[in-house]
């Protein structure tokens, strides 16, 4: 992998379900170290892109390259080991595991091997210590032993990000991390993600909160009806005619629907 090749690159990726085209010929690159936003109106195909990158779906057409390797046919379970970790639009932590156990699950790709499966994770095991340290660094040390299902929404949202981080990813993909958070929580999430980025992790987020997008991401990709309509600097995005049309068009439609 040469110094200039992007960390992640999609080439002409298409995906459809039951004859319905959801993603059409999408191509984009993400450079190592970037903070990229993936935005667009509802139903534009953002989560589908995440699912294609993380391997939940296989593209009908096109290539996905990650860290110099074509990964479209790599099984989803192996991708986290390559350095691809993600969170989910609706929190998908394991509800019956404690916080620290969820983080230890995130370490799965690091632990690897049959022998590691037989190692106890109690007391002073290396994995538990690392998980607790990671939680402490993210200011979540209050909760390690608690079962996730009982925790408040904002905390669970953050824990899901930390679980993804526990795999030491090169690329961290977050699906609407600020959804449902109040302004204070969003601000703290922003600093949190900034810290992660400064430590060298590339970030790709799907987000509706444009304030967060502007303050966190330098670059943005805009999708509409499964096609890429913008790829460039975040600060210019709102002057782009296609983007304006996509958003205003849909806002128009929404207003009409309310009227």
């Amino acid at each position: 992998m040469s110094a200039h090749s992007p960390l992640l690159s999609l080439k002409d990726v298409s995906k459809g379900f039951f004859g319905l085209q959801v993603i059409t010929d999408v191509s984009f690159d993400i450079a190592a170290g970037a903070r990229m936003a993936l935005i667009g109106p509802n139903g534009a195909g953002k989560t589908t892109i995440f699912n294609l990158i993380s391997g939940v779906y296989t593209p009908d057409k096109g290539q996905i390259n990650f860290a110099g390797q074509e990964i479209s046919l790599v099984p989803s379970r192996k991708r986290i080991g390559l350095g691809l970790a993600r969170s989910f639009q609706n929190i998908r932590l394991m509800p019956h595991l404690s916080v620290v156990e969820n983080i230890m699950l995130g370490q799965q790709s690091q632990a690897g091997g049959l022998l590691s499966m037989a190692t106890p994770l109690m007391g002073r095991s290396r994995w538990r210590r690392e998980a607790e340290d990671l939680l402490a660094r993210m200011n979540l040390e209050t909760y390690p032993g608690e079962v996730v299902a009982t925790l408040p929404y904002g905390i669970r949202k953050k824990i899901e990000v930390v679980r993804a981080l526990a795999s030491n990813p090169k690329l961290l993909m977050l699906d609407e991390p600020a959804a449902g958070l109040n302004p204070n929580e969003t601000a703290s999430l922003r600093d949190f993600l900034m810290g992660i980025s400064e430590a060298g992790t590339t970030i790709l987020i799907v987000e509706h909160d444009m304030g967060l997008v502007r303050s966190l991401c330098d670059q943005a990709i805009v999708l509409n009806f499964g096609r890429k309509i913008y790829d460039g600097l975040t600060r210019d995005v709102q002057e782009d005619p296609l983007v304006l049309e996509a958003y205003l068009g849909s806002r128009h439609a929404q207003e009409n629907a309310h009227a």
């Binding site: 379970r77 019956h96 595991l97 404690s98 699950l105 799965q108 106890p120 040390e141 390690p144 608690e146």
Partner: protein
């Protein structure tokens, strides 16, 4: 120790091991409704080897564990491809096929059953139950245990976290089958006689209910469930006759009926099942409960199991 209590302790120990054998796949979200079939494989492997070749008990029981474990792994590959209702039906069908095969097999005694030489005392089963309990607690504390519980909660996300879902499920099924086989072997040698009617569909149901009512989130669940329901009839010994008289009058019977007292135990088991599913579907012992009971531990270390 009287023969009566020796019998109770044997059956208690065997039920605990049996329940752990079902618990491990259930903890990974695989409802195994074929427990009796696996137990029968263990019991008949051990019993047949003992009756036909007179081998020592240690060999026959080990043989039973291995045969059941291997069958468990082999059947797991096709069976675990099925999901939901299909998995329940497939495990159930497996047990019925095993029972049918034994029933029509001459060397295994068919409907007559076989006598098993090599009697073992109650304490052998109790020691095994202790070892199995420790083993399962250990297993649930390992990364393997973590992945089992993760798969129970969410298979798809476990996969994305890098867990080999299929391998973990097959391993859970195989280990569970081997433990069930151990319980079968102990049963054969403790009671010196096995017949296939003793491994019927109801047995599969009972053991699954022990596990589910005890709770599937921690290794305490099967221990509590199996112990409670095995000892329940003993506790009810004095209460039962009175209730029985009352009901007999209510049904208008006059003396010709001799209700089997065994039945009460299962009415209570069934009623508790229905009530538990309404009020506490996660089972008696939960993670949160175990955590609260561990108040003497340093908080920052959290839950160990």
């Amino acid at each position: 120790m009287s023969g009566y209590w020796a019998g109770i302790l044997s059956i208690l120990a065997i039920n605990i091991i049996f329940a752990y054998g079902i618990f491990i796949p259930v903890a990974s979200g695989q409802l195994n409704l074929g427990g009796a079939g696996f137990q029968a494989v263990g019991a008949y492997s051990a019993g047949w080897l003992s009756a036909s070749f007179g081998l020592p008990v240690s060999v026959t029981i080990a043989f039973g564990i291995i045969v059941t474990g291997v069958i468990g792994v082999l059947i797991a590959f096709p069976i675990l491809r099925t999901k939901g209702v299909y998995l329940v039906l497939a495990t159930f069908a497996f047990a019925e096929v095993i029972a049918g095969a034994i029933l029509s097999s001459e060397p295994l005694g068919g409907a007559m059953g076989i006598s098993v030489p090599g009697y073992i005392d109650w304490y052998v089963s109790v020691i095994f139950a202790g070892l199995v309990t420790v083993f399962v607690f250990y297993l649930m504390a390992t990364r393997f245990g973590l992945t089992i519980r993760a798969i129970h909660d969410d298979e798809d996300v476990s996969d994305l976290m890098g867990v080999s879902v299929r391998n973990v499920k097959v391993a859970a099924f195989g280990i569970g089958a081997a433990l069930t086989g151990l319980s079968g072997g102990l049963y054969a040698h403790s009671f010196s006689y096995i017949e296939i009617q003793g491994f019927n569909a109801l047995v599969s149901i009972y053991v699954l209910l022990y596990v589910l009512l005890g709770g599937t989130q921690t290794a305490w669940g099967p221990l509590v469930g199996a112990t409670f329901f095995t000892l329940l009839p003993e506790a009810l010994r004095s209460v039962l006759p009175a209730t029985k008289n009352f009901l007999v009058t209510l049904f208008g019977e006059t003396g010709i009926v001799a209700p089997p007292d065994e039945s009460w135990r299962f009415v209570i088991l069934g009623a508790l099942t229905v009530l538990m599913m309404v009020f506490r579907p996660e089972g008696l012992v939960t993670r949160t409960m175990v955590e609260r009971l561990q108040f003497w531990r340093p908080v920052s270390r959290g839950v160990t199991q």
